[in-house]
Amino acid sequence: MRCVVGIDLGSTTTKAVLLDESGGTVGRGITNSRSNYEVASAVARDEALTAARFHRLERALGATGREAPALGPALREAFRLELHLDQIEGLGEEIARQLATPLYAQHARELGRPLAEVMDLARAEAPGLFRDGAERRSDFFRDLAGAAFLSGAERIARRDGLPFERMLGIFDRAILEVEARPAHRDFGRLLHRAASRVAPTTTPAADGRPPGNGARGRLLEEVARAAAEPILEVAFVGTGYGRSTLPFPREAVRSEILCHGRGAHRVFPGTRTVLDIGGQDTKAIQVDAQGVVSTFQMNDRCAAGCGRYLGYIADELNLGLHELGPLALKARRSVKVNSTCTVFAGAELRERLALGQDRSDILAGLHRAIMLRAMSLLARSGGVSDEFTFTGGVSKNVMATRVLRELVVQHYGEGITLNAHPDSIYMGALGAALYALDDVREGRPSVLPTFMPREDGRGG
């Protein structure tokens, strides 16, 4: 299969989208951004390739047997588990390596075994995380490993009277190292392991025949074929925050403004105005009927009113980012908040809490303050036209969306359709992939980034 790739390197997450030559989405991937942009991009692209292969595999399995549809999700989770176990392995090795450095020379003896034990616990708990239908806090290895390490290390430190903070320090160094290191993902091998884990060995087949090598063999065969099927990436476009340092070839870089506008227009073809609120910036974009940007405005230098601001608020309240919106929805009245300055956010919040104001009411006010800022930016870019599409991480916040809807009605009337899509986080990468597709269609030579060697198409 021939594909084009779009990657959007954001300040918080990195996204990849794979389109086939007809423009259909065949795979998407997301990972946490990290100090090494190249690795972040490579991981997102690996995730997208994995998704694409599963997409094909599930179609193939669906064609071969009745037991297969149920098998798909289980196989996916098993694959994730195998990948996770490999990563835990790598992390364990890195922790051992850290212990061997002069920095920890004094503690290697004392902490070596307990740390190994913590990693054993993480390994043992892993299958629970990837059971079919299991709820995970996050899909990112850094978060999962961090949570596992924290609980394990706490237990063992208490039990053995060990310095917990120091153990955590070692983990912090190790995870940074592991996350910044290029990792080769052998899809075939991982898939085979996953398939072996879930393949039917004991369950009787639906037709009552005894379980046997037939079903298992057939599955493994399909799996092997899916792994071997080449995916040829023929074109690439990258975009993202702080684009001057992107790990992409210069000719393959497109403005995130263009990409977001195009992506949003593709998902909602009636789109004329796009509001994107990401971690570090806010963009108000006007597009024409073809999805081409006609004007845009970005927030000024400071990150006031962006996703990062909500992050600070969540930290200050010791809450998860995703909990803010629902909590704000419970407000009985909205406290008037005038500052959206990230620097003062904590102080203002503490002062209001100290005054006895309700947490939900304050949060409602904060959300309103952010959206007022966004409304100003929209006004600056030329206003809101129908249809209006809200994208970026903050668009997943229910309170933000609700306040935006109210403000749009108040200032631009009832006639505006407000689109928000659960996958809006992929809009930039989707737009980038669409620009890559343009390159293919118009016969422009494509330059792939170094982390995407054009090889036999087997993927990384």
Binding site: R301, K336, S339, A347, E348, L372, S376, H411
Partner: protein, 395 residues
């Protein structure tokens, strides 16, 4: 409640209602009672209101939107490093709250307000707006002559839009009414300096600012009635620090900020919150037989108070402030500048230097008209008042 206390409260309630009248309902009412009369808005700091009154116009000082207006369109026109008052002023204009105004004057205060005047012309090309270039040359034959021509030009513009022609007799009367207002303001200043606990700064602020959209005579009456009532009311003596509040105020601080300073133990016995009313020191004298317009101009040239937007000439920066502190027997100075306010912030180091030279303590902070946090200011002002008390005892 009857009696003097009730009278005070009633005047304050009226003042508060006037201050909070952002939708200019009082102006609408005035226009209904004065068919054909023009309501002319003006940005803060100095505009010769008697001239407008003499032409049968209602002068309306515009002080931004305070802390109660959602700023959306206003923000869309200004970068983050520009002060707040132009944002809320534009917001009010675009939401229709300034509809009753037949025109707006932009006196020379700073580059931001000057450019706001230009924005007005672009945004509201069908409405009258004008820039009033106050002279920075104080020679009657040079700057004075220019200023008189400038006022004559504006009077002509107003006349073309239906205002009465500027007649010397009417101007003379308007100046007399203005002088009555000024006398009442001075009486209030004197009372505050004598017995700061009798008229609190927050009250004086409301009563003074209430005149923004009142004819001078009506404002003078309000002031006089309030003062009469205040002189009689029962009050409790407070042992507070006496401060002068300095801010080159065009953008107004939130009312809560004035209250915060009071609660922190500072008696503001003098301030430049209503700078326009203080831009001329003392009575505007119109000698017998003199041209009142010349006299009005001359008062600005010769009795102009030291303010940040006025060139100091051959004078010394800060001398006027030191004199003001001494005259009022104040213990110290509180600088409260609007964030990004060029006149206030560029002036401040020079004023601070003069205060240092005179051994007068001071503290400083910044605000925006919609500041919602006062914790830091409360702590700072509290620490300042404690330090000044201690310092006063030691010296």
């Amino acid at each position: 409640m009857a009696g003097p206390l009730g009278d005070c409260e009633a005047r304050l309630a009226r003042a508060r209602a006037l201050v909070e009248d952002r939708r200019l309902d009082t102006v609408r009412a005035w226009k209904a009672g004065h068919p054909g009369g023009l309501a002319i808005g003006h940005m803060p700091v100095y505009v010769p209101r008697p001239m407008l009154e003499a032409q049968g116009c209602l002068a309306v000082a515009l002080f931004g939107g305070g802390d109660q207006v959602d700023i959306i369109r206003g923000d869309s026109y200004f970068q983050s490093y520009i002060c707040h008052i132009p944002r809320s002023t534009i917001e009010l204009a675009l939401t229709g709250d300034l509809e009753p105004l037949d025109g707006v004057l932009f006196p020379s205060i700073c580059d931001v307000i000057r450019n706001l005047g230009g924005m007005w012309k672009l945004l509201f090309p069908d409405r009258y707006s004008d820039y009033l270039d106050l002279p920075q040359d104080f020679d009657p034959e040079v700057g004075g002559a220019f200023y008189v021509r400038e006022l004559g030009r504006i009077a002509g513009e107003l006349e073309r839009r239906g205002a009465r022609p500027l007649e010397p007799g009417a101007l003379r009367e308007a100046i007399a009414r203005e002088n009555r207002r000024r006398a009442a303001l001075e009486a209030m200043d004197a009372l505050r300096a004598r017995e700061p606990w009798r008229v609190r700064a927050s009250e004086a602020y409301l009563i003074a600012r209430a005149g923004a959209a009142l004819p001078a005579q009506e404002h003078a009456t309000l002031l006089e009635e309030f003062l009469a009532a205040a002189a009689l009311r029962e009050v409790r003596y407070r042992d507070n620090v006496r401060v002068v509040l300095v801010g080159a105020f065009c953008e107004q601080p939130p009312f809560e900020l004035v209250l915060t300073l009071e609660r922190a133990g500072c008696d503001i016995i003098h301030d430049d919150l209503q700078l326009g009313l203080r831009a001329i020191d003392g009575e505007i004298r119109v000698p017998e037989g003199a041209d009142p317009l010349e006299a009005l101009a001359r008062a600005y040239l010769e009795q102009g108070t030291a303010m940040a937007s006025r060139y100091i000439g051959e004078g010394e920066k800060g001398v006027a402030l030191v004199r003001r502190v001494c005259d009022a027997a104040a213990d110290g100075v509180v600088f409260a500048a609007a964030s990004f306010c060029d006149p206030a912030l560029l002036d401040q180091p020079m004023l601070e230097r003069a205060l240092e030279g005179a051994g007068i303590p001071f503290t400083s902070f910044k605000f925006a008209e919609n500041t919602g946090q006062f914790q830091v200011i409360r702590e700072q002002a509290g620490a300042f008042s404690d330090a000044v008390k201690l310092w006063g005892k030691e010296s």
